[in-house]
Amino acid sequence: MNQIDYSVEPDVVQGSLSQRDINEAISKPLETKPTKLYYLALGISSTLLLIGAISLALTLYYGVGLWGINQPVGWAFDIVNFVFWVGIGHAGTLISAILFLFRQRWRTGIARFAEAMTIFAVMTAGLFPLIHTGRPWLDGYLFPVPNQHHLWINFTSPLIWDVFAVSTYLTVSFVFWYIGLIPDLATLRERTNSKVKKIIYSILSLGWRHSNRHWHHYEMIYLILAGFATPLVLSVHTIVSFDFAVSILPGWHTTIFPPYFVAGAVFSGFAMVQNVLIVIRKIFNLQNIITLDTLEKMNKVMLATGLMVGYAYGMEFFIAWYSGNPLESFVFLNRAFGNYAWAYWIMVSCNVIFTQLFWFKKIRRSIVPMFIIGVLVNIGMWFERFVIVVTTLSRDFLPTSWDYFVPTIYDIGILLGSFGLFFTLVILFIRTLPVVSITEVKSVLKTSQPVHH
């Protein structure tokens, strides 16, 4: 039927690269002067960041009254962006931890980048809970610090769970990422001729010396960290979904939210990783390491998670009818045919309909269509959160206070700024640290392991 041979293990890396080639290919972006294209990209993203910074500064000075929020939509872009960016982060941990536990070797080419993206996305996401309080300089009180007021935080509040979940997630992702980086930094330390770089790499690599007595523990801790990161990544988006689901608002209070949010997070995260990787493998010539097969597998994951999200949409609709609760059925009908129907249909078409194109192998394996679908998925997932938050709130229990939320330029400025922050960090990262794990890619080369006896 076709040329796949199941009897041999598929190669992760193409083009019969040697160990030295891997070193060269991966560290090349760090050792050469960047091109004009690089500066152009950096310029665009830092402009966006600047727009965001100005909007944010004005918001902090004048207060959150500058945003479009009011009664009854008291929660809008801030929480939408938060959920969106936390979701983006989930792909990284999924690739680095869950696929590691499932021994999916194709993850090696993309794991490092995905992990870094997790950290940047969570950092971006973390901004929003901090600024949505309106007085971010008092956010220290979100942590249980003994204070002169003898007050404690409310541990039964899902917003406090968020604080714990997001900060734990950021810390553990960082540790996981850094542990993975240490051997690569040691390799770079031995390679570099520049004195300054040598000092920096020496400090960061902690004097790692590739000892097999160390590797022995290192493999163990990688397994342990992956074992912890897996439930952690589920818990983080679960807790984010609890923000909504523990309430009694129809459309928010539904028990499928935890797994549905996790699936959606992985879905959007994979789309983002796929998009950025397509660009990176092109400009840094990493086509042999980040292969088309890898991208195809990512598209398959997107198809699967897209179907899961579609399942959740269907389930919510069905149960809204099945429950016999008029409030539930109203909310869902209102989503599909009410004041924000346009947002709902953007969400459904981007998340469920367009991704069905990935059933076709041709589309899974051609760069331009998959890139476009990836972008659409991210648009769709952003609108999913918008639908959940804004549509539901704008038609609450009290019809007299119904209102139509319109974002102001400050809302949009901060949204653009979040993209600016994320991409600026990504662009700086790809020139400062190896985007692909040298260690892991080497270990899955064809001749790299001794033959088993």
């Binding site: 293990e9 499932f102 309430s247 028990t255 099945y322 016999g324």
Partner: protein, 395 residues
């Protein structure tokens, strides 16, 4: 492209005493259930609902396992795939179990009483979905779909034993891809129809996922037990051992956690929001003697398997795996019993000879089914192109 396998496999018959053992269980179970249907038809029917859900779990969970193997390109599980195929044949017993319940439908499903439904506004709203004729139509369709996919998987897989064609693996991969969405929808409808609609006023959107978590655990439990037992008694191949067992242990561990996560999410959200139209389901299970049974589920289905499988060496210890896989299979029965039986007896926990005979009936069905289907095929998919890699598989 025919490639000869280098694997030497000698088929061994499963001894007849296994069948005898199965018949003993089956005979007691059948007699007990027949008497049960005569003496206490309602109670026996409720027990049969538990049994149906349990057998459906084992059968469809095994199909899901096969599908996942093809889709993910998993290697370690190839030599054991026939075990999952044999286990999935349990779905053939479902019609036998379903018919007696359908004959007693009025004593099990409150919504099947047309005159009661007319008195109840909410049930009236649902009656276009929850009515006996559509219900029967759905279960026939669902079972037909399961039979279809089961026979497609097995047909291609068995054909490969003789032809060694790689294209059959490809075909089964496509079947798996189509099966997954079908599986999700049918399993959810099955869970809503047979378990959730027992309390027709209650609803929970996560319920399908909850049933899926238990389903896959139960299927993995039987799969792990049967695979290790067969391998130890020499029915499979040389060279299969702890490295392969580790994956089974890890999956059991992972899905134990997944079940706990889903169960906790459902409970927590309903407890926290405290809406009376949802909480009554948990209140029934949290009062009277049912409370102890409900607390027991935390230990039976989560704490015991979690602690038993937590250390890394435990995940590849065949002795412990054999015990804990049977435990998990039992835990799924316990879980289903907890979902179903409080509807029959709201105030107090019931357990007696009717319950025991339906459990024995279930065990008997599984053993007899296993004997027949295991003897019909090779226990190793000798034509599978991944088989050689699977035997060489190391952690």
């Amino acid at each position: 492209m025919i490639e000869n396998t280098t694997v030497l496999y000698q088929k061994k018959e499963i001894p007849i005493r296994i069948l005898h053992l199965g018949f003993v269980f089956l005979a007691i179970g059948v007699i007990g259930s027949i008497i049960g249907f005569v003496v206490e038809p309602a109670r026996t029917s409720f027990n049969f609902v538990v049994l149906i859900a349990w057998c459906a779990s084992i059968g469809t969970g095994s199909l899901f396992f096969i599908g996942i193997e093809y889709l993910s390109g998993a290697v370690w599980s190839v030599p054991f795939r026939r075990v999952a195929e044999v286990n999935s044949a349990v779905i053939f017993t479902l019609p036998l179990l379903i018919v007696p319940v359908l004959l007693n439908i009025h004593s099990v499903f409150h919504w099947s009483h047309a005159e009661e439904v007319l008195k109840d506004e909410i049930l009236k709203g649902k009656s276009s979905y929850l009515n006996p004729s559509f219900f029967v139509l759905r279960i026939i369709l669902i079972i037909a779909l399961w039979f279809l996919f089961k026979s497609l998987f097995t047909k291609h897989s068995r054909k490969q034993d003789f032809t060694f064609e790689q294209s059959l693996t490809k075909k089964n991969t496509i079947v798996s891809a189509v099966f997954m969405p079908v599986f999700a929808v049918t399993l959810t409808i099955f869970a809503i129809d047979w378990l959730m609609s027992l309390e027709p006023h209650w609803y929970s959107t996560i319920f399908g996922v909850y049933y899926f978590a238990g389903t896959f655990l139960a299927a993995l439990g039987l799969f792990t037990f049967a695979s290790i037992k067969l391998n130890e008694s020499g029915y499979l191949l040389e060279g299969l051992g702890q490295d392969h067992y580790y994956s089974m242990g890890a999956l059991l561990f992972a899905f134990t956690n997944f079940w706990a996560y889903i169960a906790f999410s459902q409970f927590m959200l309903i407890w926290y929001a405290n809406l009376p139209e949802e909480t009554f389901w948990y209140i029934t299970r949290g009062t009277g003697t049912w409370m102890y049974f409900s607390l027991g589920i935390i230990f039976v289905k989560f704490v015991v398997p979690y602690i038993a499988l937590l250390p890394q060496p435990a995940k590849m210890d065949p002795k412990r795996l054999k015990f804990i896989s049977l435990w998990i299979l039992f835990a799924h029965y316990y879980d289903l019993f907890w979902i179903v039986m409080p509807t029959y007896s709201k105030d107090y926990f019931v357990f007696g000879w009717i319950e025991i005979s339906s459990i024995l009936l279930g065990i008997g069905l599984i053993i007899v089914n296993f004997y027949y289907f295991a003897n019909k095929t090779n226990l190793i998919p000798i034509g599978d192109p991944k088989l050689k890699r699977a035997i060489e598989f190391h952690l």
